[in-house]
């Protein structure tokens, strides 16, 4: 995948997001249900990609706190889609060998009798390749 491209370029390419469109209104951060859990906030995602500082973004806690609730995407007045941008960042990580955030071996400790299959397949798709 994308040899010779910077990680920030890869994030732009996978997400299809144009970070230049952001006008920093902060509506995404105001809408985000995981705001308190995030070290880099949704309205800040674009800056890291614009400044070619993808390393900080992919090493942030925020990568694994996005819930794909699409509130930021719904409410963005500039159609920037911060939720797609952070997914692009997550993809550049989980697409690397051995960089999965969820391992099959840890599944048993997470299980309980009521846990729906939907939760397992969703987590597998977001957290690993």
């Amino acid at each position: 995948m994308s040899y010779g491209k910077s990680q920030a370029e890869q994030i732009r390419e996978i997400s299809g997001v144009n970070p230049h469109k952001c006008m920093k209104c902060g509506k995404c951060s105001a809408s985000c249900p995981s705001f308190n859990e995030m070290d880099i906030k949704p309205h800040q995602f674009v800056s890291y990609v614009l400044n070619d500082d993808a390393e900080a973004l992919v090493n942030s806690k925020s990568l694994w706190k996005c819930l794909s609730c699409f509130a930021c995407i719904e409410r963005c007045p500039r159609d920037v889609k911060p939720g797609k941008l952070i997914d692009g960042a997550r993809q550049t990580v989980v697409r690397q060998r051995g960089a999965d955030y969820l391992m099959p071996e840890e599944i048993p400790e997470h299980l309980d009798p009521k846990l729906p299959q939907q939760l397992l397949v969703s987590a597998f798709r977001r957290y690993r390749r």
């Binding site: 390419e13 996978i14 794909s68 609730c69 299959q117 969703s122």
Partner: protein, 266 residues
Amino acid sequence: MKYSYYPGCTLKTKAKEMDAYARASAEALGFELEEIVDWQCCGGVYPLGTDEIASKLSSVRALDAAKEKGQDLVTLCSACHHVIKRVNDDMKNVDDIQTRANNYMELDVPYKGETEVLHYLEVLRDRIGFEALKEKIVNPLKGRKIGAYYGCLLLRPSGLMAFDNPENPSIIEDFIRAIGAEPVVYPYRNECCGGYISLKEKDLARNMTANIMDSAAGFGAEALITACPLCLYNLGLSQNAARLPVYYFTALLAEALGVKEEVLAS
């Protein structure tokens, strides 16, 4: 009227009753759900990467199977609906995905997004009609105060899902009215339940669903209804908050149509 039907993984396992009530209710309302043969899991979440193809093929197969039969495709789980509806949009409007997915599929006739995807609630609203549904109710749920829990996946992104007003929806409230109960509108009805975070970080989901429970109870709801097994699970995790019972909307539908007992007996 016959529809192709995509139940999805959880309706065959932890949420069997949601499926059984939906089928019995469909029969009572005069439409048939014909399960797609050999359907495959939708993956639970829509793959957001613009270069994702393989992870969308299970949805394309289901969509094409419905097209082959000339039927609309009905979903019931919010997550399956979200994934299949968005993949269908890709197949219709994104040339690159359409070409590459069809290259994999090698169908006799390429699939180009022809199938219409309907959530069961949309069948009730747009095909049956809530007025007509009301006339079929034999056991109106009088005096029951029900809060609709929409969550995220049915509503957002609204441009693609085209399900209802994403900030002030009314379809489930109209449904609650049609079955004779009283809808309770509360602020957190379209806030996230935590989704897949509850696998590894249960406490985060607990906090989020506690807010939803307290919001609904504070506005007078006595129970919540949902169309999503993961929302139901996460709502059940909430602690230090109001503990309202949470039902699948099809359970109340079957009860109001007088077919709940036959489902429980079968």
